[in-house]
Symmetry: C2
Subunit: 463 residues, 2 copies
Amino acid sequence: MTRNHTPKSLAVLLRARMHPDALPSSPSQLSPTPPTDPDPAAPPAASVRHWLHAAASATSPPPATLDSFSDGYRSLDRVGRREVLRSLATDYDVPRARVRDLMRQYMSVASAAAIGVDGAEAEEGKEGAAAALYRMERGLREALRPRYAGFLEAMNAQPGGLKLLAVLRADLLALLGEENAPALRALDSYLKEKLVTWLSPAALTLHQITWDDPASLLEKIVAYEAVHPIRNLIDLKRRLGVGRRCFGYFHPAIPGEPLIFIEVALHKDMAASIQEVLWDEPPTPESEASCALFYAISSTQPGLSGINLGKFLLKRVIDMLRRDMPSVQIFATLSPIPGFMQWLRAKLASQMKLAETESQEGNSLEGASSTFRESILLPDEEKMIHDAIEQAHGKQGIELLQDILKTSQWVKSEKLSAALKSPLMRLCARYLAREKIRGKALDAVANFHLQNGAVSEPSQIQF
Amino acid sequence: MTRNHTPKSLAVLLRARMHPDALPSSPSQLSPTPPTDPDPAAPPAASVRHWLHAAASATSPPPATLDSFSDGYRSLDRVGRREVLRSLATDYDVPRARVRDLMRQYMSVASAAAIGVDGAEAEEGKEGAAAALYRMERGLREALRPRYAGFLEAMNAQPGGLKLLAVLRADLLALLGEENAPALRALDSYLKEKLVTWLSPAALTLHQITWDDPASLLEKIVAYEAVHPIRNLIDLKRRLGVGRRCFGYFHPAIPGEPLIFIEVALHKDMAASIQEVLWDEPPTPESEASCALFYAISSTQPGLSGINLGKFLLKRVIDMLRRDMPSVQIFATLSPIPGFMQWLRAKLASQMKLAETESQEGNSLEGASSTFRESILLPDEEKMIHDAIEQAHGKQGIELLQDILKTSQWVKSEKLSAALKSPLMRLCARYLAREKIRGKALDAVANFHLQNGAVSEPSQIQF
């Protein structure tokens, strides 16, 4: 690879990104979504299930069988892939009859061991019983593994196998969205557990991605950047240049493609807006930087959803920056808050509904209504919103707010923006810090950061 | 790293190898054997057990605790390490009471599910029972994991953790050699299973080791070459030069050090002796090579014993050589046969004993003796040995053979070598091909090769 080739390949890719259907090498090839039209020469799902059976029944499946399965599976359309996934989940399930037999044996040995053996041979008997228990526990662990466990492990050991398993899990997650069958859920949970082991931080290599990297790698950064799309070559080059860093986590089984990558900007102080980070020109001289702003993190494999590679990547990048740039003391993130508006709109709608019911039913529900009614806006905030609106038509503050937030026109009005800033900041802080789901922050992005030890700085929240 | 530094560092190492006690940087640092004299400042085993407890009790142990455990464990002497290993195996064992509870619950749900539900809610009931079964099976898999499982996994995810686990297993294997307790055996079997998963071929990178590699890597090749020790710098350089290859398997968690490496010589045809391979000067021009001779394979981590990395390494190296050098058609190995002489001496001794018993007891054991007595030597071979010996003193062939093999003086006598060649070749072929232990070749080296698909060529066996 020479530098001369880089811009050209990337230019082709960037064009392809803009007109995904215009070029045969469109980035959709990078995505694991199954083709909608099956290749007429492709083997039908039945052949793929045949190879699956051959691979899943063998103690150590021959590489050629695993390859045939992989190629066949990739060539299937959505319907065919789903047929194979259902078969994998149900036909190669836990051998329940065997599990029950082993459990009965275990229970009898375990109670014999608990009773103990008296007399001269007590010690020897105990040792023998202990050895039997360990052996049976091992056997039980083995029997409780679904029969597809060996197939998944052999596939992972195969060149290209990890990638195939990521594709398979992406398909499985899509299928689970529509068909929440227990066997499919169990397959997903088992596969996820295995992926967590295989993708342990110990098996991953941290690599700083720079403009000197091969174009084949850089094109993946362009294709997969999910937070702030890369607009052109100048944009990409700047993200890899002075005052910026881009780090990827690589696995030996998926060479030349990060599983996940993170983009960092080095600033004098905490930036207030993402525009400042992306278009800061010229960038802060690195010697003056005291703040590392993580402004984007993107995963390249939808099938690795939930594996939490981001947490470990972030930790290693922070450790490395701390070591290499001791002047950098602040580590911050500027993140979108994707669920806030949706949450706020739902909140406003439910409060409007409660208010309506209350006024219709008079005092009959007074006790109940007071439980669910809340004051969304403080009196000052109500007043500011009323003052900013010319025709309030006698509406309440939350009704006005609901109307304003129907479109994003308000951001263009200085008066409205000024009036909304205070209530929206306060409500957003509440949304981030207090709204929970199963003990975790309701907002997925907030949850990611808070789990990694971040602290929110509400003064930085931007609309 | 520049080439100028390489020879110097290696010269230091080679000196250290010859006088392991003369230099502080002796290669014994590379070995995981615990120091015999504990550092007086080192924490005692009790502190290490304290960190173990802290790490093994947490859901996600803090990295600092794992590091304290690692440092503490490494600083312990053999007695301290054994105390920690025993504690790990017994104090963090399978939670048996919980396993029994879960099993009772599972058995009742499993039988309810087997009976089935009739009526309108049958389908829904079935689905609910299935979901419960999967959930309980997952819970049981979890409960059947020893409590040290989480500790081992967290340690593996920690920088330097995989290496620590390899050290720990090496200590455990040494301990098991003296104290075959069921709990220790179960710990070894569990840890081995985990290591097989973590060191799956997918997580390993194949790298050709050359004279351009860092001295810090090359010194490890010198230190760990186990089959034919590297004598000097010229020897090392030749093993990495024209007509030779050296490949290593690397894991991201243990950088700069192969887990295992293999040495290959390219020849015109199958070499008849290891001397030819090691001292062939000048080497065969690579364009004329038609045979790849694998002459040494060495593991650097005694704690990874039994993981069978060699099998996968061999396979990948053969695939690579096939692709890069299509003229190479023969893949062979010249291996020592470490167990042959021992086996033969034991065989001769037992046959002598049987013969003695028989002559003492006359005909009384005739039936029994004929079962165990065998003709070790063919009549021709007996004759050749008699002819080669000046004073046979009326001894039988096998008695003479036993006398001759007491020392290795016979290899210096042309007459004796000629007389012994035919019987020893025949007996060695029998030893390799027919002597089994648990269905595998009795000889460990032969077993390794035969499992990898090798065929023995008895005409090449050398004495």
